[in-house]
């Protein structure tokens, strides 16, 4: 698997992501500066977490307009894999590669804590090493993770099976309490119709090592490596 990580000014989880990808694939990912436009030859483009451009106008808004995103869009159009985590998810919605938007957390505070995610389907390249219905733990760290889309869009996402992760209790129940940021229908992660573009708010890349408190996030990367092994 040849992976690249897009680095926007203000991104800050690119190193975490590189560690997780290298651990799973044995290769250091390529770091892609936001002004680069040639990303040919990569299987997976990751847009990591952080505060691109400080998130000063709207999370992800300025990054979505940068030159590299045109190349990412083209990569996605070719059927390439794109993973956006946290700020990366926000950037993907701002770019239009994924529907909806991420609003301010319902409690209006930045939240940094572990959450539990229920895997809604295991037949994607991102979730093939999980079971459908399995619950795993992941740290989240964001101020704007409250997923919003209009009801038609939500119905379509659900109808087409594009909701990939939901906030759940450790037992897998979809409750209001488990929905830490107030997301519509507890949605934590969604995919594009071809299931190759995925965005999620929590950080599986920060839970890939027993020392950091667990390896719950590792199957996501192992699954990708298995799917994209050249």
């Amino acid at each position: 698997m040849k992976a690249g990580i897009v680095v926007f000014p203000g991104i800050n989880r690119e190193r975490d992501m590189a560690i997780a990808l290298e651990l799973a694939s044995g290769h250091k990912p390529r770091m892609i500066w936001h002004k680069e436009t040639d990303i040919a030859g990569l299987d997976l483009i990751v847009i990591p977490g952080g505060f691109s451009y400080g998130d000063y106008l709207r999370c992800g808004a300025m990054a979505a307009q940068s030159p590299v995103m045109a190349a990412v869009r083209a990569h996605a159009a070719r059927g390439g894999h794109v993973l956006g985590v946290c700020n990366g998810f926000q950037i993907l919605t701002e770019t239009g590669l994924l529907p909806g938007a991420l609003l301010r957390n319902a409690g209006l505070r930045f939240l940094s804590m572990d959450c539990h995610l229920r895997v809604e389907r295991a037949d994607t390249d991102y979730t093939r090493h999980y079971q459908a219905g399995q619950v795993f733990r992941a740290p989240l760290a964001h101020g704007d993770g409250n997923y919003f889309a209009d009801d038609d869009t939500l119905d379509r996402l659900e109808g087409e099976g594009l909701v990939i992760f939901r906030y759940a209790t450790p037992e897998g129940a979809i409750t209001r309490e488990a929905n830490l940021n107030g997301s519509a229908r507890n949605i934590a992660g969604i995919a594009a119709p071809n299931l190759r573009v995925l965005g999620l708010m929590p950080h599986p890349e920060d839970l890939v090592d027993p020392l950091m408190g667990g390896t719950d996030g590792k199957p996501l990367f192992d699954g990708l490596v298995a799917a994209l092994a050249a």
């Binding site: 000014p9 203000g10 991104i11 800050n12 989880r13 190193r15 975490d16 560690i19 997780a20 977490g49 952080g50 505060f51 451009y53 400080g54 998130d55 000063y56 957390n105 319902a106 409690g107 209006l108 505070r109 930045f110 939240l111 940094s112 804590m113 740290p139 760290a141 101020g143 209001r176 309490e177 929905n179 830490l180 940021n181 107030g182 950080h203 890349e205 920060d206 090592d209 020392l211 950091m212 408190g213």
Partner: protein, 730 residues
């Protein structure tokens, strides 16, 4: 700004009559407004340490592992494998009172710059916070703003906030304390200092543009607050963490080359202190051309530019042949880059603006003749002994009161707003261990980090309190298995011109120094914040200690969360010391007595024993016993691990409430599989040890037969902050 420079203006700038006379003597003429500004900020308490220097010099600062002690932007210690930890703590107390969000945010930004200016990538932030009475609406507003500000800045720059401490006391009503600490990692061979060198070398300004922010911030930080402090408000600066993030990356990129001769952040007193200190340390002169300074506002005067405290700026001296390499890096990161001067052999700072020499000051006398005061001190009288105190209501009730009180309740509401995992190296997050554990990227080695101080002890007995603060930091690091290496300190005190306050300062330093020596725990950096009082009401004396330790293998770190089926052993001597305890204050309603004595030999012996047991793999959980005493420590361990505990009665001869809530020092609770083996080892090492209970189930069973569910204790423990702040449910 066409004001005459005279003694009255000098007084407004914070210079005494004597100090102004000294300026006249050095200059041999009436200084210009800009020159007066330079003198006033360089000779402010904040920059010159004029009241504290004589005492700070008595702190132990050396050890074989200390690479740079106090005097540089931050302290530097050898942490093995060719790496250095660079760390410091700094206050932003006054700005945080005036504008809590921005005050705290820019405090974090400032301390980050102190650390990355030396070549380190910042890897962790901590903060030590003291607030007034929670019953006051103002306290709530300040806490909310400070916590948001720390998170807003730290989260955005992508440095995990991994620890800290929070106390409440009415003494901080008009003067909260916001102390921020940053820890960074550098290669030992790539440490950058601030001494300028190379006559003719260019002086470079990088970062954000200069505005009229915070003019006279350094002198404000050196003045007592009065009813007119509202009027001082326009000096507040706004932080820009995005620019700081770019500055970190750009500086680290440049530091990988050989372009930099010297570098220093522009902190308090901005361009003035950075240029004067860089030139002064290097024994060279410096000439600045203010027309070249990137400016955000129009028509700024030389005085304004020299004193501006605009954030996110750095000053560097570069090798002339590397100037374009450096420019390209800063342009890549969209940061301003300007050559604003050069080094000279004149030993003077010369400042030009629009063709006029606005300042021309000899640097040696500016530094050497800076005021230095041996202020009178008055000892704090020994507190009267406490005498016996009856237990008004039993252990269970007291425990509930204590775990729910603002000083002991869960801080989760706070740390949940701080990104503690960014970087992917946080092994022990807030609430998991006595010190935060942060691994070094790509290695097994890890740092243990903590911040500690018990101001009520320091008030009652400044010397014992100073020693206790250092000892607690050492103990918190030890309790994770790490080896304590060094501390940074943040000395927050009231008006040093009052002998009682200066006496607190001096005695605290004495106590700290004794503890540093006994524990091999030198001071490598620090900060002093004086005049923390409002309308004559002083804060509690607060020498906040930031401690750093190292673990060879992060996997050896233990936290305090209990698992079921373990034996609980108390290490260290328990006399049942209730003087100045939280039990006495919260349960008996009295703030009295002497604080617990600090026996440094016992501290050392017990701690070395505990660390040895942890590194030998015999300890499953460990917690030091501090505020609230033994029963609170046990409850915290039970809550963290969601595992119940059954306790045995304490010894004969110590009243139960004194045994369970006394705050005797040098104690730890360890959870082990084999208590007999541990007791034998402790006996052999001369460490008092006593089995106090075991872990199992979901209840807390007290020695008096009371059983309380962990859920009910948790509800009490986690209630205060969300209820106070009115947390809206999602």
């Amino acid at each position: 700004m066409a004001r005459d420079v005279n003694q009255a203006l000098a007084r407004e700038f914070g210079l005494s009559a004597d100090e102004y006379q000294r300026v006249l003597d050095i200059m041999g003429r009436t200084p210009s407004l800009t020159e007066l500004g330079v003198f006033s900020v360089m000779w402010s308490e904040h920059c010159s340490y004029k009241s504290s220097r004589v005492w700070l010099k008595t702190l132990p600062t050396k050890a074989p592992w200390v690479i740079h002690g106090p005097g540089e932007n931050a302290g530097v210690v050898d942490i093995g494998e060719g790496l250095a930890a660079i760390f410091k703590m700094e206050s932003h107390n006054h700005p945080s009172f005036i504008e809590p969000y921005q005050g705290a945010a820019t405090g974090v930004g400032g301390i980050l710059r102190d650390v990355f200016t030396m070549g380190a990538r910042p890897v962790a932030n901590l903060n030590a916070l003291r607030f007034g009475d929670p019953a006051l609406p103002r306290t709530k507003r300040i806490v909310d703003g400070v916590v948001r500000g720390i998170g807003g800045y730290g989260n955005c720059v992508g440095v995990p906030t991994v620890g800290g401490e929070i106390d409440f006391h009415p003494a901080y009503n008009g003067n909260p304390l916001v102390n921020a600490m940053t820890v960074g990692i550098a290669d030992q061979g790539k440490i950058f200092l601030s001494a300028a060198a190379g006559i003719g070398n260019p002086v470079i300004y990088v970062g954000s543009k200069t505005g009229r922010d915070g003019i006279h911030g350094a002198t404000m930080a050196s003045a007592e607050f009065g009813a007119d402090s509202e009027e001082k408000r326009p000096t507040v600066q706004v932080g820009d963490p995005f620019t700081e993030k770019l500055l970190i990356e750009a500086c680290l990129e440049l530091m990988a080359t050989d372009a930099i001769v010297a570098i220093q952040d522009m902190g308090a007193a901005g361009l003035t202190s950075s240029s004067v200190e860089m030139a002064g340390k290097g024994g060279v002169g410096i000439e600045l051309d203010l027309d070249a300074v990137p400016q955000r506002e129009t028509a700024m005067s030389a005085y304004e530019m020299m004193l501006s405290e605009s954030q996110e700026r750095m000053l560097m001296v570069l090798r002339p042949d590397r100037q374009e390499v450096a420019r390209a890096i800063f342009e890549k990161w969209d940061l301003d880059f300007a050559v604003i001067g050069h080094l000279t052999d004149t030993g003077r700072i010369v400042v030009r603006h629009r063709g006029v020499v606005e300042a021309d000051i000899p640097l040696d006398p500016l530094a050497e003749q800076a005021p230095l005061y041996h202020r009178p001190t008055e000892e704090t009288p020994r507190p009267a002994p406490l005498g016996p105190v009856a237990d008004p209501g039993g252990l269970a009730e007291a425990l509930m009161t204590l775990v729910g009180c603002p000083d002991l309740c869960s801080r989760a509401w706070v740390w949940d707003q701080y990104d503690s995992t960014v970087g992917g190296q946080t092994v022990k997050r807030p609430g998991a261990a006595d010190a935060a554990i942060v691994r070094l990227e790509g290695r097994r080695r890890a740092l243990a980090l903590t911040s500690d101080c018990t101001p009520r002890y320091v008030l009652a007995d400044p010397e014992a309190g100073g020693a206790q603060a250092v000892a607690e930091a050492w103990r918190n690091i030890t309790a994770t298995g790490a080896l304590p290496l060094a501390i940074t300190d943040n000395m927050n005190f009231a008006n040093p011109e009052k002998p009682r306050i200066m006496g607190q300062f001096a005695a605290s330093i004495r106590g700290m120094a004794a503890a540093c020596v006994a524990l091999d725990f030198p001071v490598v950096s620090g900060n002093v914040s004086l005049y923390n009082e409002t309308e004559g009401k002083p804060i509690l004396p607060t020498p906040a200690i930031g401690g750093l330790g190292v673990l060879e293998d992060a996997a050896q770190a233990v936290g305090y969360a209990l698992a079921p089926g373990l034996e609980l052993v108390l290490l260290g001597e328990t006399a049942g010391w209730l003087g100045q305890s939280l039990w006495l204050r919260e349960v008996a309603g009295r703030e009295e007595g002497a604080p617990p004595p600090v026996d440094l030999a016992a501290e050392r012996r017990n701690g070395d024993f505990v660390r040895g047991q942890i590194l030998a793999g015999r300890v499953r959980a460990c917690h030091d016993v501090s505020d609230g005493g033994l029963l609170v420590a046990l409850a915290e361990m039970a809550l963290a691990g969601d595992t119940g505990v059954s306790l045995r009665p304490g010894p004969e001869g110590v009243a139960p409430h004194a045994f369970w809530f006394g705050e005797d020092q040098a104690r730890y609770v360890v959870a082990v599989a084999d208590a007999a083996a541990l007791l034998a080892a402790a006996a052999a090492a001369g460490v008092p040890a006593r089995q106090v209970g075991r872990s199992h189930g979901a209840d807390l069973t007290l020695p008096d037969g009371h059983t309380m569910s962990l859920a009910s204790v948790r509800a009490m423990h986690e209630r205060f902050f969300p209820a106070w702040m009115g947390v809206e449910s999602a």
